[in-house]
Symmetry: C2
Subunit: 653 residues, 2 copies
């Protein structure tokens, strides 16, 4: 491990038949839209006031704070996404706008380094009095992330220096020493941001401060209860229980003692991301063990097949092992973004392709389900089954939408998707000593360093539609190193061609990678073709909600049935065990990914239903039905209709 961000593989350009369009949407649609939103320029939308709050704090305008207590973070996330875009492609106009925003933010900063427009404008003097609810360190964390990204992209230090002053101030306020606040934020975020600040600056104080926040969490007496007493038992969000429900914020136990994923899903994975960072940087075996336990619990007991996490709306939270209701799922887009952050850190700590498999599952399903195919509308919640006729009537589904929404007053998901997609290049490869690992197969050009040698890797990918990828490896001069190619978890057999020579593969090494160690010459080629049959996925037999059901998966994509292709009442459909799958030409909305067609059945009442709700004379008859599945990420792009990922399998028995 080095003191620089070890997950960063070098200069990256994405040119991919599937992903380039998403990145174009981020650049041309999402980031400009988000800019309008934070400047209150979107007609008909509720004002965000995020930029205006900074202008007022900077003394440039008169007015009052408006918005959520964490409104500042929208500006930070926008800046962060801009930084990633600038890193992959220069854009002087965009950079100019970002520089202006940075000037504004820095002008708004208080002399002592403090930055938070809510407290500066609305509750001056009450800083650090309600960590449980008020997201002060959370906002700080996002600004630090923006600053480190902008510095990495442009080399400009203005915001970086500002957040260092802020972090230095935070370090004076918080800590175990007497006289300092023994606190931490209700919403984890600063912990992972401080590690990035450490990577950007090399200043170990920030790493130590991150470690402090993690270690302090969940200690007794409980900080949130203490500060609540101290401030006279006031609540910022009286309808929530951020102060007293300690599981909600993963402060029910010290982080090292937590063995199951509890509470708010986004907070948990942000916390785990920082824990993995700290484990890596400090070689802390206990912290690594805690990360492993939480990871195992999430992915082996509490994750949807789509890579979504959080089974309930209440608290946007995890529930219990093997409790994964399809219709009531919360599966917040941001939580899957955070799961990808966590997975990427785990890859660095414990080499195993399972982490990249989960990254891929979350990315290709829940994360991109979170946005419409035109980049203008978003899901916060990603259910695996929707019956629109009960939405709005059965209030258990109040969080579920059958259509993506324009923008949210609590706009966390769209900017989170934007910053993840804009930085997607960071997730493609990871380098470690003399090995370059290919984690996600995405076409493009990467300049990196392996075993001390500069190497350019050009990847041509047909991964999502054909399972085919081709690498051109060009070291500066011939050099020995290892190229380790992830064997995806969904793939049983692959064909490998190295410089034109074929090799049949049935698996990678025990850690899930196919390793090619050789003296590489400039222009060497490696071709991989992953067999990508349609798979009938089953849930663990302890998941009662998926029992005897099946979900289709092909390559990284989980599929679903939609009313648009199968007509209504999807629950009547059955998939016989022996039916064969046909891949059908993709339609426009599917980005070239094939549909799956299969001969199935629809069960219907054998006779006209007699009056009444219940009857003993009501046999079901089955009729032939052609079932059509589309990739889950593409659902709800053709109007409101039913959707289901899982379908009852009909056994031959």
């Amino acid at each position: 491990m080095t003191k620089t961000d070890s997950t960063r593989a070098g200069h990256i350009q994405i040119r991919d038949p599937f992903w380039s369009e998403y990145i174009r949407l981020v650049r041309e649609v999402m980031v400009p839209y988000q800019w309008k939103a934070i400047n209150d320029l979107v007609e008909g939308a509720e004002p965000s006031h995020a930029i205006r709050n900074f202008k007022i704090a900077a003394g440039r305008e008169e007015g009052e704070f408006y918005g959520m207590v964490f409104q500042d973070s929208d500006v930070a996330k926008w800046l962060e996404a801009v930084a990633y875009l600038l890193e992959t492609k220069g854009d002087p106009e965009l950079e100019g706008i970002a520089d202006d925003v940075i000037d504004l933010v820095v002008q708004a900063q208080r002399e002592d380094g403090y930055m938070n427009t809510y407290f500066m404008l609305k509750e001056p003097g009450k800083e650090w009095s309600d960590l449980a609810e008020c997201h002060e360190l959370y906002c700080a964390g996002h600004m630090i992330e923006a600053a480190t990204a902008y510095y990495r992209a442009t080399g400009k230090r203005k915001l970086l220096d500002a957040v260092c002053r802020f972090a230095d101030y935070i370090d004076l306020v918080f800590g175990t020493e007497p006289g300092k606040l023994h606190g931490y934020d209700g919403h984890q975020e600063i912990e992972l941001a401080l590690v990035k600040l450490y990577h950007a600056t090399g200043n170990e104080k920030y790493l130590e401060l991150s470690r402090y926040f993690l270690e302090q969490r969940g200690q007794q007496p409980h900080f949130f209860e203490q500060e609540w007493e101290k401030r006279g038992r006031t609540l910022h969000f009286p309808q929530l229980s951020m102060v007293h429900d300690h599981e909600y914020s993963q402060s029910h136990l010290p982080v090292r003692e937590q063995t199951s994923a509890e509470g708010h899903a986004v907070r948990l994975v942000y916390m785990c991301t920082a824990m993995a960072d700290i484990a890596a940087e400090t070689k802390d075996a206990g912290m690594l063990a805690a990360c492993r336990k939480l990871w195992d619990n999430i992915v082996n007991k509490r994750m949807y097949i789509t890579g979504g996490i959080g089974s309930m709306e209440q608290g946007e939270s995890f529930t219990a092992d093997y409790d994964l209701p399809a219709d009531l799922a919360y599966a917040e887009t941001c939580a899957s973004v955070g799961l990808i952050f966590f997975a990427r850190r785990m890859l660095q700590l414990h080499r195993n392709s399972e982490y990249a498999d989960v990254m891929e599952r979350a990315l290709y399903n829940t994360v991109i389900s979170g946005m419409s195919l035109d980049g203008t509308r978003f899901f916060y919640v990603n259910p695996l089954e929707v019956y629109p006729e009960v939405l709005g009537k059965n209030k258990n589904y109040n969080h579920v939408k059958a259509e993506r929404q324009g923008w949210f007053s609590c706009a966390c998901c769209p900017p989170n998707v934007a910053r993840l997609l804009a930085s997607l290049g960071d997730y493609m490869y990871s380098a470690e000593a003399d090995t370059l690992y290919a984690e996600l197969y995405i076409g493009g050009r990467v300049e990196t360093v392996v075993a001390g040698m500069g190497v350019v890797i050009e990847q041509h990918s047909d991964y999502v539609s054909e399972g085919r990828v081709r690498f051109e490896v060009t070291p500066e001069q011939s050099a020995e190193f290892t190229l380790a190619l992830r064997m995806p978890g969904w793939c049983d057999t692959a064909r490998l061609t190295v410089d034109g020579k074929h090799r049949q593969l049935s698996s990678g090494d025990s850690d899930g990678y196919i390793r090619l160690t050789r003296m590489w010459q400039p222009g060497d080629t490696v071709e991989l073709c992953f067999d990508m049959p349609v798979k009938r996925m089953k849930g663990h037999p302890l998941i009662r909600q998926t029992f005897s059901k099946v979900a289709l998966q092909r390559g990284p994509f989980v599929y679903c049935l939609e009313e648009a292709d199968n007509s209504a009442r999807l629950y009547q459909l059955r998939l016989p065990e022996e039916s064969e799958f046909i891949l059908t030409e993709a339609e426009g909305v599917l980005h070239g990914i094939p549909m799956i067609t299969v001969s199935g059945k629809r069960l219907k009442s054998a006779a006209a239903w007699v009056e009444g709700l219940y009857s003993s004379d009501a046999a079901l008859a089955s009729e032939q039905a052609e079932l059509k599945f589309i990739p889950y990420f593409a659902w709800a792009n053709r109007g409101v209709g039913e959707m289901s990922v899982w379908i009852e399998e009909e056994a031959k028995r």
Copy 2:
């Protein structure tokens, strides 16, 4: 129709192998316990303060009001249950206690007739300022019900006269005339109570006032919004939306325009009960049509197979047509009690056995599921499927308990069950002109009048276990009239023996009754034996939650699987289409009702599950399993465990 309560069939004594025990529990356990509860004499329980509130209001004690805004109704419901007990069996000690309570209540009454300890003690001067939330007329209604029942049982007028003064006062306050409040209560109850007061007194003013409250409901401008503005927009229950969610209280539309069952289920059925009363008393065809529409919607689209109503916890409310989740069900015990009230009124209006069928379904399943077999513990919520391991973790199930509870701070259900069971005799027969209808088959002796002739009917019932009932008909002297015997909806064939002569029956008349019109002689006997096979009940094909599943029913009882008999993971069980049912000797907890045993299957992973949550190599194998079903009402009497009413049916196809 007469001006007296036409549903009252005469003096009734219940002697029934099934029901006598329940009535004993009401007399010996529930009513004494409830007396202790309202007097704060239950050790370890939260004080009720209900009697003490009256003592303070009467000037007998010093102190402050304590409890819910509707705390007075607990005293009223206790008095009502006592009245029914006294009616069937004298008990001077109990009557003395009740007389003392009545003295207390009347002493607490204000000079102008007003009675409500909450407003008298806690918010004097604010009477009638928050009808939407504060249950003033609801409490009045319960006291009126108690008074009419006590008058009927004992002939004593003291409480009756007091509630007449109160009703007279209410009549001065409310009405369409200028200067009166154009309001009505958020929780319907007074409407049905005023009809009882009309029956008890013959004073048409009370009938008219009831009609006014019904007709005013849902008129625009909306009363709840107006009074809310007038009182400065304060809320008594700020966490609920009783003021602005008009569907919740069925005030979203005038009652005649309501065509679907919306909102709080108890309120809806209490309202419908009064609507049916008004339709009967005033021969209002429009009101009858509105009752029919709401009835049809409830029983043909929104009722559980157990006779439970209310598919969601939020608002304890109905959701949408055919939306009947088994696990999330609210199905409040009180709502099924109210459904029985409504059904009994409909029987008088529109002669059809379907009403008594629903009465029976609700009574034998949800209502008695509401109490433990020893009468000391109660369910508020009656789900049709429970997996205890997720309770407390998945907050969607916060309302669901796997064990009955001792007493509730909002103690509506136990007293409601008590007053229904104590008055069960009122539901056995209904007389109309020269016909006596037998609605519920419950053993006992009834003195009644048919076609002007006094008749004693002694019923010997083995109905619940064998489907057998025997009547001894003893008119004062020989007389011609009709005995109409309900053919239960679950029965396809029955054998009838009249004075020893056999008749095979395959159905009743088109309205569902078997009519025996003859010159009855003292001592004539009628025997009925209803064939009572185990039936495989299916849900309407539009109920997605029951699709391809089956529930067992035998006679009036719906059955369920419990973990105690079938071990855990009930979702793995399958019931083959062709399996045959064996009735097994009842165990102690089942009141002599047989268990059903049937050869079924348990699906299990064919091989040990590979690591991870999802796998494509996971076939299910089935093994033989003996399935045991017990009557639903008896569930959760053997500790905490899984329970399911519905089981997946395995087709032969």
